[in-house]
Symmetry: C2
Subunit: 308 residues, 2 copies
């Protein structure tokens, strides 16, 4: 697996190209996004169903996932996968529970107390991308903190497949995290739905989650309408820094975990170890072979850098 | 002082108009903002100086505030004001210092530690509006947390007056908070400068501070270019909730403190006390008389609500 190799000298001017990040082209999409937002604002559920027909290729009779579908998801998953999800749930819960902030109360002067008190956001929306992999890990990572914070309403939107279904692992993880309702709608139209609210999809106060460039542009648009967003999530990136004590196997896995997100992902390894520099490409190549998403990861690695 | 009075009954449908917030019209300004951003990106300092001539009515020879100007500011302020600023500094410092977050380290499973470690943002930009009042309190409230966090570079932009000067209280407060550099530039052009960087004004990673609709629209634009912002600060709002133990004098002062920000401010009092409901308008009227900014506050009060 050949990556771009760099041995850095003392010339800082040569560093700039290494720091260039994968680009988001949010602005070019703005007229498409405006159309979708305007249509969802006026036509509500009808617009969501129309866009789902057009973009996801399926005519739905209803947007909301039924309890029976969630039940069925549970029975269709293997015990191995359910155990893995339960273990991830426990780990993520433990980590975020420990972050739960305390009130900060300060006596500023005699008789005057000032305090900082974190309060949960009543209604939050979580976006889970569709596409080539069922991101139930994203469900856990977004919904568990919301549940720990005490958000009253946690709704989820995610695009259906061409049969009008959501991957059972996503439904199972959502149910485990106490998500209030799940809607079969994706893309910019899902974000517009949670921004304005429709008869079916509630308006939320903050939207979380990754997505493609349309979803990202839609979240920026939503922010302009007064809905908070977590961040404009761009293509995946990771930078690993390793000295000579690093395990090449682990480093390769960490790099591939983000490289496989998409061909526009970018992963960087900065190392002070010639041993790692000289062995990483071979280890990446051998791990790649076993990856179901090896073609995507291999493309991303071409745009990535090894820096000594 | 007459405000809009409401006695709420059981009909929740009548509540909606009470919850309407002052509007931001960010989208209408977008072509102006695009022009300013494009010009600053290409022409840098020259564009900043041109816009300052056009919008602030002053031809500057240099954008950066000199040390001699800061020295002079210090000597031109009264001891009373300096003492008040020092006291505010101490209170704000105490409050924010207590909020300094700890690392959260969790043993997830044998041999695996996960941790959350807050790190300061290297370069931050602070915007201080010009206009009818010198907002040195805003300097303190934005710069002190940045200083406590450990930001390496804290730059400030604020529009000059027609003589090309910044109010000495702003310079004095900035100096006290260890601000790295102060630039005489305001409006959308200041935000564009901190977004792209010019020869004089550095590019920053996050922009903080209030401003008019142009500044707010510019911050949203900056966010699209990958610079973080604190929030899209709209017109000032405050809601006071008081039961019968409330002090009418204090409540009136709290309401006026935000009403005086601008004619589009909105202040709300929700109270379960008929005593407060019946006396607040008179107290507001009497406090208004002594306010230098009473005309602005009076206009804002007209759009505000007293709710029993």
């Amino acid at each position: 697996m050949k990556m771009n190799r760099h041995i850095l000298g003392s010339s800082a001017s040569s560093y700039a190209p290494l720091l260039e990040r994968p680009q988001l082209r949010v602005e070019e999409l703005s007229s498409t996004i405006e159309d979708i937002f305007a249509s969802v604002k006026v036509n509500g559920d009808k617009a969501l169903l129309d866009y789902t027909r057009r973009f996801d290729g399926v005519s739905l009779s209803s947007l909301q996932v039924k309890n029976s579908e969630i039940k069925q998801a549970e029975s269709s998953l293997s015990d191995t996968l359910k155990k893995a999800i339960a273990r991830a749930y426990k780990n993520i819960y433990t980590f975020h529970k420990a972050q739960y902030p305390e009130d900060v109360v300060v006596d500023i002067s005699s008789g005057i107390k000032c305090w900082q008190k974190p309060v949960p956001i009543d209604k939050v929306g979580i976006y889970i991308p569709g596409g080539s992999a069922p991101l139930f890990s994203t469900v856990l990572m977004l919904a568990i903190p919301a549940m720990i914070a005490g958000c009253k309403e946690i709704v989820m939107t995610t695009p259906p497949n061409q049969k009008g279904l959501i991957h059972p692992a996503i439904l199972y993880a959502a149910e485990m995290c106490g998500i209030t309702a799940i809607y079969k709608v994706g893309g910019a139209q899902a974000i517009a739905g949670m921004t304005y609210g429709t008869v079916t999809v509630p308006k939320v106060y903050k939207i979380f989650g990754p997505g493609n460039q349309y979803v990202t542009a839609a979240k920026m648009r939503s922010f302009q309408s007064g809905v908070a967003i977590d961040m404009p999530a761009g293509p995946s990136e990771v930078l690993v820094y390793a000295d000579d004590s690093g395990e090449v196997d682990f480093i390769a896995s960490d790099l591939l975990s983000q490289a496989e997100h998409g061909p526009d992902s970018q992963v960087l390894l900065v190392t002070s170890s010639l041993r790692i520099m000289d062995s990483i490409e071979e280890v990446l190549a051998s791990q790649l072979e076993t990856l179901p998403r090896r073609d995507i990861a291999a493309q991303a690695l071409k745009n990535s850098h090894l820096i000594y």
